[in-house]
Amino acid sequence: MLMTVFTDLDKWVDNENRERVEAGMLMIAKCEIRVLGQTALLEAKLDLHVASTMDVDVYANYEYAVKKRFEELLNAAGKQLDPVGHEAWMPKETEYLEYFIGDWVRAYLAKPEYIMISKAKKAPTKNDLLISEYIASGACERFFELAKKYQIDLESFVK
């Protein structure tokens, strides 16, 4: 789903910039969109039971016009851009996977281990089973290191 949204968004920026060049206007700058939360987990196609509501959390450096178009494309795909998604806490070490590289839009997915740390730290009750399942699937070493660093009590998730 997200791949189509980003492809369409990139095409839209491309068309918009062609028109702007012809009209002698400033072009829309290249932008980066970093997808967080459940949406990134779903797109990563992990072997976990992930349920996601329709809101999409992102960190992005896009211009207002691109944000508006992104919202429209998400709505058409049955999703909503979370207006406070950019306030979501992620560990400062968070690494991202390349997801879509267009001429104008680049999209990345936060790596699962960092999303899990964010969830375990900020909403442990809501994500109790998701984190248990992630640990049960053989969580990576990095996840355990970060849990220690951010003082997350992993034992409380496996009770």
Binding site: A51, S52, T53, M54, K126, L129, S132, E133, E155, V158
Partner: protein, 169 residues
């Protein structure tokens, strides 16, 4: 506890949870919410028939996101679930949501967390408008009527425009 012990313990827990996830109440609720476009779940098929509210409440123990959606869903789309008996706590928050005064936490979920779904769960993305009554001076009413007539719109629309302008300032 070492990492390996944690993994083993989590695996034991997940055996129990996976069994519970095979329960029809869980599959039906998630399938229904998926069909309504409210939850994205890859490994559950869409479900189109009736789901009872108590089944959804049971399923919410395994997927807390259902609990977050329920108040707004009952306020805006009460027919998604068959509601024979609505728990008092849920009824209270739904009533608050309908009049735009959500303040009571629901099952530990703060009001602002479940209230935000009001804009998203309805077929019509606009929230229902809320009735309010005010006492205005005769002069204010005359201004309101003139503005509404001149702009060929309703008096409520004029008040909303004025409020938006105030917020912008």
């Amino acid at each position: 506890m070492t990492n390996q012990e944690l993994i083993k313990k989590a695996q034991k827990k997940m055996i129990r949870i996976k069994k519970q996830r095979r329960d029809l109440r869980y599959i039906k609720t998630l399938g229904k919410l998926r069909r309504e476009g409210l939850l994205d779940v890859r490994d559950v098929a869409e479900y189109r028939c009736h789901v009872f509210l108590n089944e959804a409440l049971w399923a919410a123990k395994l997927e807390p996101r259902i609990l977050e959606l329920l108040p707004a869903l009952l306020a805006r789309r009460p027919k998604v679930f068959v509601c024979l008996d609505v728990p008092q706590e849920l009824e209270l928050v739904v009533r608050e949501l309908r009049v735009g005064r959500a303040k009571t936490p629901y099952q530990g979920i703060p009001a602002q967390n479940y209230e935000r779904w009001m804009d998203l769960v309805g077929h019509n993305k606009l929230r229902p408008k809320i009735m309010r009554s005010f006492r205005l001076s005769t002069a204010a009413i005359a201004i309101l009527e003139t503005l509404a007539k001149n702009q060929n719109t309703s008096q409520s629309a004029i008040i909303q425009q004025a409020l938006s302008a105030l917020v912008r300032d």
